[in-house]
């Protein structure tokens, strides 16, 4: 099984502009950023969240707490996978009680990752509000979860993969749709 690039959705400039817009929407969405907390989902969501935090801080001039979730231990498919996936650190060094939490990820698809993230979040305290911000919403939900802030809606078929590549992980910046092909 291999992958073939089908179409390009975003380049570096588009990603930058989209994150800028999403950050502004997040600020607009709340009366004050005092209670705002941004939490990224490993791996790429964490880096995107970090950029969103920087933008919000630039625009508002106030500090926004930033955390990282590793959802591995909350996955619903651990009994199905061949061997245990590598666990990375979760870093939420502040109290979430009463906070306005924005969960950030690269792609929203079946929403199983988001379900795990929300469950884990609740174990850290009782947030006042939880919202979801994603770079790409590609549809095909398997759980009743929706995104509050969406960079771009990308209609896809289920045998396609949306591949978000960012400098911190992949050494380049782009979003492409690839198709599984038999080799």
């Amino acid at each position: 099984m291999g992958f073939r690039e089908k179409r390009k959705i975003m380049d570096a400039v588009a990603i930058e502009k989209t994150l800028d817009r999403v950050s502004r929407e997040i600020i607009e969405g709340c009366k004050t950023t005092d209670e705002l907390v941004i939490i990224g989902i490993r791996t790429r969501g964490a880096y995107l969240a970090e950029r969103v935090v920087r933008k919000i801080e630039e625009i508002t001039g106030s500090k926004v707490p930033f955390g990282i979730l590793d959802i591995t231990l909350y996955r619903d498919d651990l009994t199905a996978v061949a061997s245990q996936p590598v666990v990375h650190k979760t870093e939420i060094p502040f109290d979430l009680t009463g906070k306005r939490v924005i969960l950030v990820d690269d792609v929203l698809y079946t929403a199983r990752t988001m379900r795990a993230a929300i469950d884990q979040l609740i174990d850290f305290g009782r947030p006042g509000l939880v919202q979801i911000a994603v770079l790409i919403d590609r549809g095909h939900r398997e759980l009743p979860i929706h995104a509050d802030y969406v960079g771009e809606n990308v209609p896809t078929s289920e045998d396609e993969v949306v591949d978000v590549q960012i400098n911190e992980v992949d050494g380049k910046e782009q979003v492409i749709v690839v198709e599984k092909v038999e080799k």
């Binding site: 231990l73 909350y74 996978v81 061997s83 884990q120």
Partner: protein
């Protein structure tokens, strides 16, 4: 790395990469014990049996908390309340436990090799929580985890292990583990406590504690195991303390920032003076904290591997 072992019997069987992988995994688990809700749903529906046929506080509680924080169910069996008192063999006891469909057996036994023997025949994964004077792998892993956390590395460090090496499964597991990851190990104790041919495990042997701890980064002090002695291997505890006990003056021979470690329980005033045990260089309680994270990591990794022994 892909973890593929169903049992943890000792550090002798592990590669350097596997040891480092467990330590890295434990690093991610440590944070869970600092949360307000100290529980993750990862091993929900799995059952672990603690079969402790020798006394223990630390290891037993540590395994039990680790299982509970991973949401596994946990059953406790001890020799004094089991049918072993009626003469049931270990093998029969474990086969019966297996028949009740459990996923993990965590076992402490006074005979070396007991968990190894069972691991080959039963479906559940087996964790050795100490077998006689042989190995205590999770203790060595938590020791290495603590050292790495404090010193930032393991490779190239000098570690002295002082005391009753002969009867110590903690020493054996640490020697296997530390030498594999590139630390230098020196051991010291009275000649009656040093097993013959131990230098074949890649350690230096000294008979004077001052020579052993000179310039080391870590001083690991072992407990004088009065329950395993019977025969008089040392003239008296007072003499042991005088010649081999770690006190404030002796500690000055090690590096100024050397760590003091002890697997517990401490015989205060025999192998270790109270002011050193409670002093600024002591990481004895950090070792206990690390233990829960290590045991969570081990249970997590072993639980993902399917058995090769079908029932």
């Amino acid at each position: 790395m892909k973890w593929d072992k169903r049992d943890l019997l000792g550090l002798e069987q592990l590669t350097k990469d596997e040891i480092i992988f467990i330590l890295d995994t434990a690093d991610s688990f440590k944070e869970i014990s600092t949360r307000a809700i100290k529980k993750v749903p990862t091993l929900r529906g799995k059952t672990a049996v603690l079969l402790f046929l020798e006394p223990s506080t630390r290891t037993r509680v540590s395994f039990e908390l680790a299982a509970k924080r991973l949401s596994a169910d946990m059953v406790n069996i001890s020799a004094s309340t089991s049918s072993m008192l009626k003469g049931e063999s270990l093998r029969d006891t474990v086969r019966n436990i297996e028949a009740m469909k459990v996923d993990l057996v965590i076992m402490r036994h006074s005979m070396a090799g007991a968990p190894h023997r069972l691991a080959g025949e039963i479906e559940p994964g087996v964790i050795n929580a100490g077998d006689g004077c042989h190995e205590h792998p999770t203790q060595a892993l938590l020791d290495m985890f603590t050292i790495r956390e404090k010193k930032g590395r393991l490779k190239g460090l000098k570690v002295a292990i002082i005391g009753d090496i002969s009867h110590s499964r903690v020493a054996r597991s640490n020697i296997w583990g530390l030498t594999k990851v590139g630390a230098e190990v020196v051991i010291a104790g009275p000649p009656t406590y040093i097993p013959p041919y131990i230098e074949k495990m890649g350690v230096k042997v000294k008979y004077r504690v001052e020579e052993a701890i000179k310039g080391v980064d870590v001083v690991m002090v072992l407990r004088i195991q009065r329950e395993r002695q019977g025969k008089n291997l040392i003239p008296s505890l007072r003499e042991y303390r005088k010649i081999f006990g770690i006190n404030r003056d002796r500690l000055k021979i090690a590096k100024p920032d050397a760590l003091i470690m002890h697997p517990g329980p401490v015989n205060r005033g025999i192998e270790l003076d109270p002011d050193v045990a409670d002093g600024p260089q002591s990481v004895i309680l950090e070792q206990v904290t690390s233990g829960v994270a290590i045991r969570m990591a081990v249970m997590y990794l072993l639980s993902g591997v399917k058995s090769e022994n079908p029932d």
